[in-house]
Symmetry: none
Subunit: 191 residues, 4 copies
DNA sequence: CATGAATGAGGCTTCATTCAT
DNA sequence: CATGAATGAAGCCTCATTCAT
């Protein structure tokens, strides 16, 4: 049983490395098998097809990210506090997981994405709910949730990508400033 | 001569459609040829290989975007005005060119991108220069140019993508609000 | 394991037939596969490419010839005896292996040959050594080894080619006479 | 008219260079055209097909060689003298025309040769006739003409090939010795 | 469960030849 | 006569997937 999990994981981990390195279509199943130290045939015990393997990898990576990102104290933090926590979680996860980041980007910008659009929406509901509440309370400007998402979390992801790609170097001081800027943008302007 | 240009363009246009629709590796050259109404062989008169065709398409699309986006009155607008103009140009271009947008995303998140990294940096220099000037003048907060880019232009691109994908609907009013929010974020907080 | 060898051999044998019959470039891999009773793809398990297949075939054929040709009793024959034995071996091998002969000719007169020039020189060393010894002993005229080679072995090959091509018919009597003529030429003239 | 000849010759000369350099099947017609400074289409005014071009090149090269090689004073030289002259002519032509030599080898060892087998036999008749006469006169050993050919002319060709390939260096002294050896072999042994 | 040889459809690319200009 | 863009058949090779062992 442990072995099964190990082998399945070995395949997924190797796939992540290779898919990021070579792209989806320059990564033959046989190479994944070889690098994972398993036979080509056994992959088909764990995954129906290459497509299913990639989808599964996406689901696992995405699931893990969402779990970690949403690890905020929804009870004791007010909505803005929650959002700040989520924002930081997001940045830190992406910045410290370059392979996962690249994989997600590649996947979500490929035709594959059509197959699991909105699959994770429900898990993001709590965040959306809190955000709507804050909007009603006048703590956040009144824009569609998706727009607010891009203004805040979306920027965290973009910055983390650049950081982990080595294009920019973001230290804690800059992060504080950026975070402040973000929240300045989504809060109502002071009169 | 005109014919040559026509055929070359027909190939590029068809390629854009199909690559966006099916992805780079599910778009056979033979299909591009067929849809473009030319023979399979002729593509290789105009492009050395499939890879070169895609790279060329990227260069043309990217070049056009940069030209249009930078169409601002650098003489008569102050730096922030320039940035606002560029911001709007960016949003409008991406929002009204969904195929180009999807293609760029796909390309820039694929291993292909390594082949023309920084190829267009020089053209963006004017914008960077103006931004630096505004930073020194205290009109924009002091953050690395790449960070400021993500906070402003990056968001325009993200929103335009969502808009053209039909995920959200952004009307002029929302656009104004977003624009204001963006510029609130990158300007120094009022004391 | 036996099967692997069988299939690899089947491919090589079929390739020999077809390459000789049609020439290197009029022998598609697909035809080799078909005639060998295997799928097109499997050839690439055993050989990296068509070129590698041909090179490998050359190596195997050449290796076999050299082994058989050098099968002489280097211990109990004097140098001239050795050379006579080698001369006969050469003639008989080529005369009785028309396909191998044609293949070698085709290969060694094609640009491919550049890839394995001198690859078999070391194995011919013993013969060269004996010949040099005979030269010093005054039993063979003092000419460069390569020249002596053409005067003797080279002629055996040429004759065998003509014989196996059906252009001439060489019986044992003629062979004796030719052999004598050859050795008359490379021995010092009687004074 | 002169131009026509020029263009045809330009094509043949270029073809010779390229065919020798790259082999028959790695020499596209378009490359021949380009290197010859003509258009791809015009080749088909002078030659029906690629095959016909190669055959024609073969015929011209072969014809020239035969003419030059047979340039001996058949009237005033006895048979052996004729043969010696022909032998030297052969050696010198091949040794000083490496491209033609390589082309002939390549051609004559390819399936193409089937198309013009024996095409030049009639021109060699005089030589054969003289040789037969010498045989009857007891000046040359009684072996089939083709065998005698290989023992003498064939060796000249082989040596010239090696010489022009740079594998061996044959100076005049060596040439004399070889020539003597050759004729020692085809003359009856002195009793 | 595990292996990896085997399959064969399909992709990219080349190039002899044609033909409108 | 001359051009060279255009055609399209055919070749080499890859690789997702299967299956006998």
């Amino acid at each position: 049983m442990a072995k099964v999990i190990d082998k399945r994981s070995a395949i997924l981990n190797t796939a992540l490395d290779l898919l990021v390195e070579n792209g989806f279509h320059n990564t033959p199943m046989s190479l994944i098998a070889k690098e994972a130290g398993v036979s080509a045939g056994i992959i088909y015990h764990y995954f129906e097809s290459k497509e299913e393997l990639i989808l599964e990898l996406y689901r696992e990576v995405k699931q893990k990210i969402i779990s970690l990102v949403l690890e905020a104290d929804f009870q004791n933090l007010n909505g803005l506090g929650v959002l700040k926590q989520v924002w930081l979680n997001t940045y830190h996860y992406y910045a410290s997981h370059p392979k996962e980041t690249l994989f997600l980007e590649q996947f979500e910008n490929s035709p594959y994405i059509k197959m699991c659009l909105n699959e994770f929406n429900t898990q993001l509901q709590p965040l959306f709910v809190w955000t709507e509440a804050e909007k009603r309370a006048g703590n956040i400007i009144d824009l569609p949730i998706e727009v607010l998402y891009e203004l805040s979390i979306g920027v965290a992801v973009s910055l983390a990508k650049q950081q982990s790609a080595g294009i920019i170097h973001i230290n804690d001081e800059i992060l504080d400033q950026v975070s402040a800027a973000i929240f300045r943008s989504i809060q109502p302007a002071r009169t």
